[in-house]
Amino acid sequence: MSYEAVVAELLALREQVTGVTESAVAAVDGLLVAADTEIVRPEVISALAATALGLGKRAGYETGLGDLREVVIRCSRGYVVVYAIREEGLLVVVGDEGLDLARLHVVSRQTVERLAALLVEESPRSA
């Protein structure tokens, strides 16, 4: 079942990258798909991540800097990082101030690829 597979990806991300504390997958409009959260409210972080992703894409377009890689929000106690999953979804990762950002970027690329496959493959083709 694909929902479990999505959650398994989120758990694996937390195990593989030092400093990842929570994460969620949502549709590009912020609708929650699955979450591995502890403190943050999944629906709220999904909606915020969707907005951040939109702003990031828009800023990249406006400044002629090309396609968005990810949105990184750095606060005094940690990070919120948002990755686009193709055109239709997003992955938002929350980490503490010790987050291994370099490794997150490496690992999340593959996570995003697999999430994209999971999200699209599972759904029936609309007639």
Partner: protein, 298 residues
């Protein structure tokens, strides 16, 4: 056995750096690995995602507030003399900063050794490189750090026999003993932070203490029956997928056939995602179901 090898490849390399009066940075490869900055063979800083740095230790201990830190940091950054700036503002004495930096260095080395350093690379001093924010001046003798790290690794080996390692996610004990003296502040903070999700490293960041003291406290609480060590998680290998998930074959999803460059925001993509949104508790939408879109119908 080469001297210092008991703590992994970092030990012998640190001792070599000491003998050669090395100035520069050691890049420690591992998961998560880290860096050690040396000046004339003495360690002035060490950083790893696996252990809280001096900033976390100073801020979480309440000795410096976030506002004060930010103001001191902004003022100090042109010269890089953050320790003097913190002391000059009367926030914490220079000796206090030094102690915290020393603790952070020793903790970072322990963390790198405990998580497993795979190899160490030297990078000579680069004038353009941004120096660590709180370097120890004149730095700590590398031999002393190797000895201290070895001592800590021996202590950690005893904790591992209780099942407490850096890769465990401890959880509250199912039936903790009734009678017990009141926990001290660190124990209380650790007990509050343990939730079955966090590793000792996560707990160290949450409570703002070093990985080593937190790991020791967890071991003590496990021995007293207040915590359960939890199941160890596997050491992650080089970036790859989670075990048990089939490797994705390129093109297997046929996504390129299904979605020929869809434009952002289209309703069809949302519907596809919805197929698996039924399980988590998603709040009821406001009923504005997406309308079918002829352009993108399928």
């Amino acid at each position: 056995m080469t001297e210092g090898e008991e703590i992994g490849p970092l030990g012998p390399e640190l001792l070599r750096c000491h003998r050669e009066h090395f100035t520069g940075v050691l890049h420690v490869d591992g998961t998560p690995g880290g860096t050690v900055t040396l000046r004339n063979g003495r360690v002035v800083a060490a950083a790893t995602p696996a252990a809280p740095g001096p900033e976390v230790l100073l801020l979480r201990s309440g000795r410096v507030t976030e506002d004060e830190w930010t103001r001191a940091y902004d003022a100090a950054m042109p010269s890089g003399r953050l320790a003097a700036e913190l002391a000059g503002r009367g926030l914490v004495g220079e000796a206090g900063v030094e102690v915290v930096c020393l603790l952070a260095i020793a903790d970072a080395l322990f963390a790198m050794a405990a998580y497993g350093a795979e190899s160490v690379r030297r990078a000579a001093a680069d004038a353009d490189e941004i120096p660590p924010p709180l370097p120890l001046d004149p730095g700590v003798d590398a031999r002393r750090l190797v000895r201290e790290t070895a001592r800590r690794m021996r202590a950690a080996a005893a904790w591992a026999e209780l099942g407490v390692t850096v890769r465990n996610r401890p959880r509250p004990a199912a039936s903790p003993p009734r009678s017990r003296v009141a926990p001290d502040p660190l124990q209380r903070h650790v007990l509050e932070a343990v939730n079955g999700r966090r590793t000792p490293r996560d707990i160290a960041f949450a409570v703002g203490r070093g990985l080593y003291p937190v790991l020791g406290e967890i071991a003590r609480l496990v021995r007293e029956g207040l915590l359960d060590a939890g199941v160890p998680i596997a050491a992650p290998g080089p970036a790859e997928g989670p075990a048990g998930l089939p490797r994705r074959r390129r093109g297997a999803s046929m996504i390129n056939e299904m979605l020929p460059r869809p434009r952002a925001g289209g309703p069809v993509r949302l519907r596809r995602l919805r197929a698996i949104t039924s399980l988590p508790p998603v709040p009821a939408s406001d009923g504005s179901e997406e309308k079918p879109d002829e352009r993108d119908g399928g």
